[in-house]
């Protein structure tokens, strides 16, 4: 068999022999299984992954009938945004962009989101955000979320009012670091509930908590508490997408309904998100740039498959720059993006992406 063209996790092209491809697929699934203590992919699934990567067409796709629903963070921000958000700098208003995404690109759902895409900077502009949502709801047919990142890091000095645990921890001030995270988490929870409630008031279909737990277990707790309150008090559909595969224990002792948050893997995260009352969960597997795309996809699919197996709510696997097996590169290679999508759906059993 001729060598198989694929890519590394940083996006650069690489050629693998059939044996090298099969080795990378096996090592990728074992890497996920060993860390999260979940089953690896079986031999049939590895064979299917092999076929997906051995097929040398420019792009790949699911079989007819296996199409899934797409939710997306940021959405129209990608059109008018800049390089930082992989934006293409087209001078379109958000309302126009949302219609382009619906009517030109055929998206299943859309979002309104602040250009900074975090709750803290958006809250001061809540009236503007509501008016954008109101207009978009009149114009659009597809379901509309309001989307933002919890991004608890913005609540710490110098960006916010609370002492920075990254300053306290190196000085051995463990208790002080925990206290400041708890205080920031409560402020974050209030902001998320207020923003989401404001969106419910104007008729939004849902709220998307994107890149959840980026600042670790305290941020995850704040999000779960916000989800719980919103599921009790609004008709919003709630999506929780994660930041990475493991909840980092920057606090270390926080629990939700008796479960310690630090160290949770996707199949464990989803059960808490369900308990909180969310409607869709987005598991993440972060790309290792020094490994091949097949290794990364195999690892991501292993996480998602177990997450999907235990879930009762729809699973929308994160697949994009640096997650879901996709290379960490500014312009994402379609050959790997499409193969990752096929694998996450047809082997990982994702309900959406």
């Amino acid at each position: 068999m001729a060598k198989i063209s694929t890519r590394m996790g940083d996006g650069y092209a690489v050629e693998l022999t059939a044996d090298e491809l099969r080795r990378d697929l096996a090592e990728g699934t074992e890497a996920a299984a060993n860390r999260a203590k979940i089953p690896p992919l079986d031999s049939n699934e590895i064979d299917y992954l092999f076929d997906i990567f051995a097929y040398q067409g420019r792009i790949a796709g699911v079989q007819p009938g296996n199409e899934v629903v797409l939710t997306k963070d940021g959405c129209a921000n990608t059109l008018y945004g800049g390089q930082m958000s992989s934006g293409v700098g087209v001078p379109l208003a958000r309302e126009q962009g949302i219609r382009v995404m619906e009517r030109v690109f055929g998206f299943d759902t859309m979002e309104v989101g602040h250009p900074d895409y975090s709750f803290k900077p958006a809250k001061a502009l809540v009236a503007l955000e509501q008016m954008c949502m109101e207009q978009a709801l009149i114009d659009c047919v597809v379901p509309l979320f309001y989307g933002a990142m919890p991004n608890m890091g913005l609540y710490f000095r110098p960006d916010g009012p609370f002492a920075n645990p990254a300053d306290l921890l190196p000085r051995g001030q463990i208790e002080e670091a925990r206290e400041t995270q708890a205080e920031a988490a409560e402020a974050l929870r209030r902001d998320m509930v207020n923003m989401a409630t404001s969106m419910a008031a104007v008729g939004a279909d849902g709220i998307d908590f994107d890149t959840t737990a980026s600042a670790g277990d305290a941020e995850f707790l704040a999000t779960l508490q916000a989800v719980e309150e919103l599921s009790d008090t609004t008709d919003l559909a709630i999506e929780v997408g994660m930041a990475t595969e493991l909840v980092l224990g920057f606090h270390g002792e926080l629990e939700y309904k008796g479960t310690r948050l630090a160290g949770l893997w996707p199949h464990q995260q989803v059960k808490l998100v369900e308990q909180a009352g969310a409607h869709i969960f987005g598991p993440v597997s972060t790309t290792n740039t020094s490994k091949s795309a097949p290794w990364n996809v195999s690892r991501a699919v292993t996480f998602v498959k177990e997450c999907s197996r235990v879930a009762t709510i729809p699973i929308h696997a994160n697949v994009g720059m640096g997650v879901g097996g996709v290379p960490t590169s500014e312009v994402q290679p379609s050959d790997v993006v499409t193969r990752a999508g096929v694998a996450l759906v047809e082997i990982g059993r994702a309900d959406g992406l």
Partner: protein, 101 residues
């Protein structure tokens, strides 16, 4: 799935009610009288969407746009859509035509 090119928005609306993908597709397919595979068929769905007047991908004068289409989608799927409920609340009455004497 293709959004309003196909039935992607309709299946998404059922996922927003915690339905997993197979259940969501089955629900929408049953309401449309289709098989689940046909939900992603843009040729079938283009014609059916115009027939049901639930919003089409191309610019067709007279076809339901935006919130107008969602009123009909609500009825089709048997669900409540928040923005349609708001329209009912703001209009001060149910969305029934006013009959003149």
């Amino acid at each position: 799935m293709g959004g309003i090119r196909t039935a992607g928005d309709l299946v998404a609306r059922m996922q927003l009610r915690k339905m997993r993908l197979p259940e969501a597709k089955r629900h929408v397919a049953d309401k449309l009288g289709l098989g689940t595979k046909e939900l992603s068929d843009s040729t079938i769905m283009r014609q059916l969407r115009e027939q049901l007047d639930i919003g089409v991908i191309t610019g067709v004068p007279g076809s339901a746009k935006g919130i107008e289409a969602k009123v009909r989608i609500e009825q089709l799927l048997g669900i409540t859509i928040n923005s349609v409920q708001r329209l009912r609340d703001k209009s001060g009455a149910a969305l029934e035509p006013v009959r003149s004497e």
